[in-house]
Symmetry: C2
Subunit: 149 residues, 2 copies
DNA sequence: TAAAGACCCTGTAGCTACTATAGAGTCAAG
DNA sequence: CTTGACTCTATAGTAGCTACAGGGTCTTTA
């Protein structure tokens, strides 16, 4: 079974460019090529790419995905480290949720400061934004980035 | 009152490079220079930069900050649009929180699949990650990025 | 046989909001 | 006069792609 990159992309629901990017980053090993220099994939590539995309949809970094792929590739070990990686990832998500809820509280407090259609000069929101008394910066590790659809 | 960029950075609690970056991006207008070509700032710059940093700590994009600065610079208007911008921003935060909670549910479900220290081959988590049946991609606009401390 | 269209190739630049260098110049204190 | 703290510009890097440009390949149809 030899499929070209477009078909692989369709089966894993991702862009062709993303596949080439993963190859460049070492998550997918360079596949064999056709006479016309087209990349040729088989079922194992489909499965591996789906694994990667699934991890990405769970918001893991490519480094985390690399680690998991490494575990997959050495089946002799036990999977305690897989569990640990996932636990750590869940914890990071929890931290982000907390940071976002804190952020929302700040935004709502700010929004309270102006409810009407006042003149810009007396707008409580703009004034609140100039006031730096609550200038707290969210905790580190609070950064998110999601795979796009 | 003429302060140099380092002092401005100290007062707004941000990096010198960030200030130069904001100038390049048009959020701060180029200040006057000293004989030795040093940037010289005054109180209005301090206030404007604090405004920007406050907005950033609330996770607004630089484009949103630009818009708010624009409103500030035209005090004749009323501030209905300021309220609208903030409402939209709050809504985006809510969407992100929901996406993250959904993500956490997925991760916890995955984590349930393996609790022991089994051999890698039979690890339920790695198997779950290969299975693409729940391959849902988080909603757009779910991306977060925070100002770092 | 030729041309059109769909697909593929490499390489590079762009996105956000900075951060981090390199290599040079300025300025005040000792 | 030298040291050290500060500043300047310009450029490259971060994550994870995405979007070209400028070509080549393959299949189908006229």
């Amino acid at each position: 079974m030899n499929i070209k990159i477009g078909e692989l992309a369709r089966r894993a629901e991702c862009h062709v460019e993303t596949i080439r990017y993963y190859e460049k980053e070492g998550l997918l090993s360079p596949p064999k090529r056709s006479g016309g220099n087209y990349r040729l994939y088989d079922d194992s590539h489909v499965e591996r790419l789906q694994f990667i995309r699934h991890c990405r949809s769970l918001d893991m970094t490519l480094a985390e995905v690399q680690t998991l792929l490494g575990y997959r590739d050495t089946p002799a070990q036990d999977c305690g480290e897989v569990n640990a990686l996932l636990d750590k990832h869940i914890q990071q998500v929890e931290i982000r949720v907390e940071a976002l809820l804190q952020l929302k509280r700040h935004l709502l407090a700010l929004r309270e400061k102006c409810s009407g259609s006042r003149a810009i000069e007396s707008c409580g929101i703009l004034q609140g934004l100039s006031d730096c008394s609550c200038h707290s910066i969210p905790a580190e590790g609070a950064t998110t980035s999601f795979v796009e659809a």
